[in-house]
């Protein structure tokens, strides 16, 4: 695998370099939707966008249908029935046309016409265009300004429905600061500073699911091994669990309740010594809900570890 990775990286780098040719279309984010309205056919008639979209600064995006009838009355032009499109589903993106017009002027095309376009193809703005003025860093630092209050608690629905919209401003690491804490990102920390010494209580009963962020073998076992906590000499060889005198011979309840904690220090071999048909103990480990037939049908190899004779 390492060799494949090693060999593939220069190839990827070369591919990136070759593909990285200049003068390509500016945006490659999700294609903005061309509006259904034939703007190009009307551009010569309208001196500016606000001739039709006069209420845009106040949030009234579209003219009334009767406005069209000024020309499309059946005599000057064929009559049409036009109704404004349905508003976009409400989300938490906080945007004010009025504020932007006041700050940047009536340059609607900066956002709604693709750069270099000569056919006046009006498109819905995409978030990529926001970044031409708003830096990525500002986007990260001012989520309240962008998304409104309580965005953190409310973004689940929109993020699930259209993740490509998020990707316009955010790299994955931005999401992972909260959703999968990054060991390299120091702030904000997911666990408090003294979590290491106090994590046993949270881990035993899985206050949160540790394995959502940590591979428990790599992360838990290696650290426990360094700390001398992993088993040596199998079960009962050292009486590590010294607060319970007979723990080695009566650990079943603790094991079934917190098996994920057991396997953070014990290997499968530790248990097979007693819980196997080939070992000296032959203690049946199967408990409530055990369906041997189903398990055998799904993975007979697992059964054969303890029942090599079938």
């Amino acid at each position: 695998m390492r060799m494949i990775l090693t060999l593939s990286m220069p190839a990827v780098a070369a591919a990136v370099g070759l593909a990285w040719t200049p003068a390509q279309p500016r945006s490659s984010l999700p294609a903005p939707s061309s509006t259904d309205f034939p703007h190009a056919a009307h551009v010569a008639l309208m001196p500016s966008c606000v001739a039709c979209h006069s209420g845009v600064a106040e949030g009234n995006m579209y003219p009334e249908g009767s406005f069209c009838a000024t020309c499309h009355n059946g005599s000057i032009q064929p009559a049409v029935e036009w109704t404004p499109p349905n508003p976009r589903p409400r989300d938490n993106l906080r945007f004010s046309h009025g504020t932007h017009i006041a700050a940047a002027g009536n340059e609607c095309g900066d956002c709604h016409v693709e750069a270099g376009s000569t056919d006046n193809l009006v498109e819905l703005a995409v978030v990529e265009q926001c970044r031409e003025c708003h830096s990525a860093s500002a986007a990260l630092q001012t989520s309240t300004a962008w998304h409104g209050e309580n965005w953190t608690a409310q973004h689940q629905l929109q993020a699930a429905a259209s993740p490509e919209t998020c990707a316009g401003c955010h790299v994955r690491a931005d999401c992972l600061e909260c959703h999968r804490p990054n060991a390299a990102a120091g702030s904000p920390a997911y666990h408090p500073a003294d979590f290491l010494v106090g994590h046993a209580a949270a881990a035993y009963s899985r206050q949160t699911t540790c394995s959502d962020c940590h591979n428990t073998t790599q992360f838990c076992v290696t650290c426990h091994q360094s700390a001398g906590l992993t088993s040596v000499g199998g079960i009962g060889g050292t009486r590590y669990h010294d607060a319970k005198v007979n723990f080695a011979t009566a650990h079943g309840q603790a094991a079934r309740q917190s098996l994920e904690s057991c396997v953070a220090c014990h290997s499968q071999d530790d248990c097979l010594g007693c819980h196997s048909t080939v070992g000296p103990g032959r203690f049946n480990p199967h408990g409530p809900g055990w369906d041997a037939d189903k398990m055998r049908s799904k993975n007979p190899s697992m059964c054969a570890v303890c029942h090599p004779g079938g």
Binding site: M1, M9, G17, P22, P25, S28, L29, P89, A103, R131, S135, A136, T142, A145, E149, A160, A161, A167, V171, D174, A183, A184, A185, G186, S187, A193, D194, V197, A200, A201, A203, Y204, S205, D212, T217, Q218, V221, T222, C223, G228, D242, A243, K244, F247, G252, A254, A255, Q257, L259, S267, Q268, G287, P288, M295, K298, N299, P300, M302, V305, C306
Partner: protein, 499 residues
């Protein structure tokens, strides 16, 4: 892969992105780096001739010894050495677009980590470099397709794989269909299950990578989001089932301020229900008061290339409630409580009493009425089988200017264990600084004095202290179109002062 080789490739890739004319293309890169210096102490197993053990099974030094009948040597645990780890971790997350096809991007995230003191001390530093994600993505209004090393993160866990994933959004984004498949990685890590880094105890391990495939069917509309999930893993060598799940996730917002969220997963491989949860949250119109009540059932699951599932881990059932209240502006109070009880294990023994229920609670508050200052305090307690934790923290944070953030805290906790005499009490005092430079580089650093007392009823008890240090930097950079802030935009009140 050798770290030097990875660094060379990253340098070459960076050189490409910096030097090649970027007109028409775009890229963004985020680099996170962090250095820590942290120590910990565990235990170390030692032995002594049985004849040297004193009556009462203690060593001459007073440590409790274990002497099996007839044994020549007795064993005992003493305090382990002071092990200091100095891990340095860097992750590089980048996205490139502008290849002549709208919606086509390349995404990559790599992680590099070394322990600068001893590679065996800090977890997760072997191997030193690996690719977390690296895929080509094509996205348009109704489709997002990824090809390469990608992942899926659902209630079934975080699973990476080398393969393909496609999300299709239909009916105005209301209908969601997802499918994915490929060669799987380990759960929660970008390493294959065959990696030696995932087998520190030389345990039974798959000899070939598993294949993974699954899908989702979802429906989203105003106030409703529901997902039906399916995922299956097959052992690469035997083609036996490694795991197979079906799950449902749903969130309903029937009216403003009220949310009901829940889900359940069913372990098809074992024929058992897994984790189930349901919670209702109500928030007042102005957000001053919010409360949640819920219940959950947690049952772990293990891949069938281990034997752990055969030991029949049982689930626990929990009920919980939380409330947050802001009586006046700048004052916030919160509390959360949960009680849980394990199911019948059918393995109880009169020889060993084991707790089968627990509860946990947090009470806290914050005061933010002084400009630039935040004061916060929490008390927490977690009493359950295996271990307990209780303590408090007091935090003061000061942001004199937008780009500078200082935090000082005092924490205390006690941690008794149920199955071993190894109670611990810790006092720690920390100071932390976050600063964003004018160029957008985010720097952070902190120092913590850590004083721990490990209590035991024998001579293996000890007390020790240490300083912990961490330093980090986050750098964002991108193509010129993404890098500058237009002066006109800075005049917008909402954005002014954020850079």
């Amino acid at each position: 892969m050798k770290p030097l080789r990875v660094l060379t490739l990253l340098a070459a890739a960076t050189a490409v992105t910096w030097t090649v004319p970027a007109h028409g293309q775009g890229y963004r890169v985020r680099v996170d780096t962090r250095f820590q210096s942290v120590a910990y102490r565990g235990v170390q197993l030692d032995s002594v001739p049985a004849g040297e053990v004193l009556p009462g099974d203690t060593t001459v030094s007073g440590a409790a010894a274990y002497c099996p009948p007839g044994a020549i040597y007795c064993t005992y645990y003493s305090a382990g050495p002071d092990q200091r780890g100095n891990p340095f971790v860097a992750s590089v997350d980048g996205v490139l677009w502008g290849f002549g096809v709208k919606g086509l991007r390349l995404v990559a995230q790599a992680r590099l980590g070394w322990d600068l003191s001893n590679p065996d001390v800090w977890p997760g530093t072997q191997p030193a470099a690996y690719l977390i994600e690296g895929y080509a993505e094509y996205a348009n209004r109704w489709l997002t397709a990824e090809l390469g090393r990608t992942h899926t993160a659902t209630r079934l866990g975080y699973w990476g794989f080398d393969g393909a994933k496609a999300d299709v959004r239909l009916l105005g984004n209301r209908l969601f269909v997802q499918g994915y498949g490929g060669w799987g990685l380990g759960r929660g890590v970008a390493l294959p299950v065959t990696s030696s880094a995932l087998n520190p105890l030389d345990d039974l391990q798959p000899r070939e990578r598993q294949t993974i495939w699954g899908g989702a069917l979802g429906w989203t509309q105003s106030g409703i989001d529901a997902r039906l999930l399916y995922q299956r893993q097959l052992d690469g060598e035997s083609n036996n089932v490694g795991s197979e799940f079906v799950a449902l996730d749903a969130t309903v917002k029937p009216f403003r301020g009220f949310t009901v969220a829940g889900g359940a997963d069913y372990n098809m491989a074992e024929g058992l229900w897994g984790t189930v949860d349901l919670a209702a949250t109500l928030s007042s119109a102005r957000g001053q008061l919010s409360g949640t009540v819920g219940g959950r059932r947690y049952r772990p699951h293990f891949p069938l290339w281990t034997i752990w599932g055969a030991f029949s881990p049982v689930a626990y059932n929990a009920g919980y409630a939380s409330v947050a209240y802001s009586p006046i502006w700048g004052v916030e109070l919160w509390g959360r409580g949960e009680a849980y009880k394990y199911g019948e294990t059918e393995a109880e023994s009169p020889n060993v009493s084991v707790e089968d229920s627990g509860w946990r609670a947090v009470l806290g508050g914050a005061f933010k009425r002084l400009s630039g200052w935040t004061f916060q305090a929490d008390y927490f307690i977690d009493k359950g089988p295996g271990a307990r934790t209780q303590g408090f923290d007091i935090v003061a944070a000061w942001r004199p200017i937008q780009s500078l953030y200082l935090v000082g805290d005092v924490r205390q906790l006690q941690r008794p264990l149920e199955f071993r005499f190894n109670d611990s009490e810790v006092w720690s005092y920390g100071l932390r600084l976050d600063y964003e430079t004018a160029t957008g580089v985010r720097l952070n650093g902190g120092i913590r004095y850590y004083d721990e007392t490990r209590n035991r009823p024998d001579a293996s008890a000890f007390s020790w202290n240490q300083f912990r240090v961490n330093l980090g930097a986050t750098i964002n950079f991108g193509s010129p179109t993404a890098g500058a802030t237009h002066p006109a935009i800075l005049s917008i009140p909402e954005v002014r002062g954020t850079r």
